[in-house]
Symmetry: C3
Subunit: 395 residues, 3 copies
């Protein structure tokens, strides 16, 4: 899209993201989501044309990773840097938080000069999203009580429920791939479970995908072996959204069924909801033998579904055999990262370039979430940048 | 205070902080302390009015945390960022320092491009302050010998003796709370020991408080159970300062006695001086059974003084029952972070907002320590910022 | 040298470093090396005169330290900051790389917004340089396929083969010490092994030195006890270069022989090539008892050569007894960091100032490697900085 068109479209949108956190995509209106996509595209245009996108002279973006991360960590750092903010990581191991400090207190203590806080907390069902909201409430209080000079915006970098920076990047990839958001209507997506020799992978990616993709008139098939359910409320929400936004949502227990005639496939492993619930209980009660037992049992269960692999054969089932393969990465590639995994090597290799492009949108999506949450008139901010043409690389 | 008044007052002060480290408040003249308070207030005004406070285009602020930290770490990062410096952390675990490198060498190696070094080293009595001075001497040498292009300023982020970024923030909180430094004269402060189920807490906070508060004409009571002495030289110094600056300094062995009619109370646990000495010896000789024995004994001793808790009842003893409660945080709150601790939950909750405000001054205090150590004429620097009105958040 | 002279000389050089990684000095032409030296000197002049050297408004410099580092870590951070880039560290422990992700994927995932990647990988013979090239190939692919918007430049922060940021800093130190690159012709250098009570020290420093110093018409003696060979190909290359560039390269088995009449001595411990090969094999096969055995044997072997120490007596053998002592630091100093080591304390102390100066060039060398790899006309870039006179420290 032309940059002028982007700014024009943006100018017509309301400022619904201002002052809001980005926790779950389904809390956002279509207009609010569209604002994020357009700002991300505008930022990408500016950077590609060596135009500085700094809108902060100084300021901090706090990251709080309660689980490992490469992609999202670097995307967050890139987004912050692009806007002129410096990342400060809250490493709970070298902090005094172990002292039994409350979330309310920590949230305020790190936020005196923070413009944003990015949080990854995806380990325990029922915990991650709750934690992010506790931080949010604490910040609201701190701000309204005059403790904080500004209310830092929160960006969900993956919770137990949603992974919006991932699903929004996935979606922006589709928008660009299919030549516009309007072209997604009617496209069939297969979000399916796939076999992996590891266990305990979070549910947030498939949940994020069905929670977001059902809002664009797409035909979303969610496929998994019996027992590998997602959080029931999210599955229900996906169904309701499909109805509302004019697409469809179907659950099937066959990878083939989902792949059949699909425009897009997203085969990705996860642990069953019931297992994650059990695991959370065992972890909280520090039942180590119980955990070991659960892992063994779960891996044995996974092993019954080794045929849930994205093979060349299965890819032939997709629309004209040319369905677009998506993955949040890293994938478990058969014969590369494991003996038997989510995807055949030749499929993965064939889709390497679009896969890496899919990932490349994340820094822009995060920067757009930040910018729209902070500035009332993003269209004007971007127009200023475009006019000033302050070069990112000087000389 | 009006920003014009702040700048006017500043203009009248000498440049005594230039080129000096900030290690102990009692090495600074009243004028030098006042300069730091005023610059901190000016920086706060500028930031609240979205005026950039960058006075560095680039440069590094090194942090060296030899003990855990959240508050001070984020305050240091905030202060550096506010002035335009980037934090680079010296993590002694991933460095080559274990090779047996000398302090002199390391200090120079990290300082080629460093504008400031912030050091926390509070674990061993007789060590932290000594280490900071060794670094300082090494930097003096490196600079005078032409190895370093600039002499980085050192900020004590907590030593075994003093915690100046804490006590100065506490004091700035009091200045704002009571409406001016001149209103502190005659105010009664109770710096008292409080029960905690943990052991080995540093002495630097209470030492920092009595070492600073006795210079403002305040009536300082230091209260602790028999045997919980601070470093004797610091207690003596507090007495001498009270005499010189027209306040009082009294040691009592009763929390009630100290709280009686107090305007300000600061109940906070610490380990007795004698225990810290013993602990340092055992740690240096790696006597693990000895350390375990010491901890057991010390906790048993603490347990005899569980009544040293800041309860609602005790708060009633303070002036009109409305004394201001201070803490450096995190506090051991009874029923929240431990079964029985330093403070009753309802007291802590009632003072939550002023407590968080107390903490909020630290980034400004650190930035002011940096600015006054680097710029000869802070008043002029701040006036420039005020005139230029370069926005922190653009657009 | 006058800054005008530097810029004039630079203007006459071709842009051979543009778009190139800096992996091995011997892959660079003399002109390309000279460009780096001149830019480093210009940057040093600018910084010393408080002129900002930022040529990036924003951007990331990724560091990937697969081995510990202090000096190089801080030099890299300083170089990045000096140019306006923010360091983002790839810590493989807190990333998802353990999942079995390929180098190709990681390289792209961290590079969407990266301008440079600095890599230290010096642990295994045959691995470090290979890894850096794998990253390079992955980035080439990613860039040509449109995945990356820019191709980040790679700076070798120490591999198994070369340590160019070290040897180039060493050389710039010599250029300044002897008053010009033209004065190095005919100077005698003793790069010699020295005793150390530790084992497994990388070969990259001596290899880097003989690989670079033989290109300036110097007389390079490489001395080590029998069996302490470097990688044979690098020794051969040094010989060939000496022939080509009009100096000499000699291998001797006597420290005295090498020191005799030397203008410069560089006594430094390393592990024999054969041991490093064996060690790599054992590490890869996780043969712990084998590794322990090898270490024991190697230390016993080292102990036979305790007389390879840089003593005052040996220094008397150098030209007029005034040879310049070099070391990459930290050194094993007899009676300081170990009972018996590479150098006598009085020698080290006497050369402390030049040693620290030697280290002080590294930030500038790294910044110059970055700048010349990114800008076609460094002379023009530097001239702009000089004209704009944007102050690093404002006011």
């Amino acid at each position: 899209m032309e940059i002028k068109n982007i700014l024009n479209q943006l100018a017509g949108l309301s400022d619904g993201n201002v002052g809001k956190d980005f926790l779950l995509t389904w809390e956002k209106s279509p207009e609010q989501l569209q604002q994020v996509f357009l700002v991300a595209e505008a930022l990408r245009y500016l950077r590609q044309n060596n135009i500085s996108t700094r809108c902060f002279d100084s300021g901090l973006a706090i990251s709080n990773f309660r689980d490992n991360s490469t992609r999202t960590r670097f995307s967050f750092a890139s987004a912050a840097n692009m806007l002129g903010l410096e990342v400060q990581d809250l490493d709970e191991k070298t902090s005094q938080i172990a002292h039994g400090e409350t979330v309310r207190e920590t949230a305020n203590m790190i936020s005196f000069m923070a413009d944003f806080i990015g949080i990854r907390d995806d380990m325990f069902l029922g915990e991650g999203d709750k934690y992010q909201r506790q931080v949010g409430t604490a910040l609201d209080e701190g701000f309204s009580e005059g403790v904080l000079e500004q209310r830092p915006g929160i960006v969900n970098l993956q919770s137990d429920i949603d992974h919006p920076t991932q699903s929004m990047s996935d979606m922006l990839h589709l928008i660009n791939h299919f030549g516009g958001i309007e072209n997604l209507k009617g496209k069939k997506v297969a979000m399916t479970w796939a076999y992996s020799p590891s266990y305990g992978k979070p549910l947030s990616v498939p949940q994020g995908v069905i929670g977001l993709f059902t809002r664009f008139g797409m035909q979303v098939d969610l496929a998994y072996p019996e027992g590998y359910d997602l959080i029931p409320e999210v599955e229900q929400l996906a169904g309701a959204q499909a109805l509302k936004y004019g697409g469809s949502f179907r659950k099937v227990n066959s990878m083939d069924e989902a792949f059949k005639n699909a425009d897009i496939v997203y085969p990705k492993s996860w642990a069953p909801f019931a297992v994650m619930q059990e695991r959370t209980k065992l972890l909280l009660s520090k039942d180590m033998p119980g955990l070991e037992q659960l892992e063994k049992q779960c891996l044995a269960n996974n092993a019954k579904h080794m045929d849930w692999e994205c093979t060349e054969e299965k890819m032939q089932l997709t629309k004209k055999g040319e369905g677009l393969y998506l993955h949040c990465l890293p994938a478990d590639i058969t014969g590369v990262s494991c003996a038997k995994g989510e995807v055949q090597e030749s499929v993965f290799e064939r889709y390497k370039v679009p896969l890496f492009k899919q990932a490349s949108y994340k820094p822009y999506i995060i920067a757009a979430m930040m910018l729209t949450s902070r500035f009332k008139n993003p269209s004007q901010v971007l127009a200023h940048m475009l006019t000033e043409k302050h070069p990112r690389i000087k000389y």
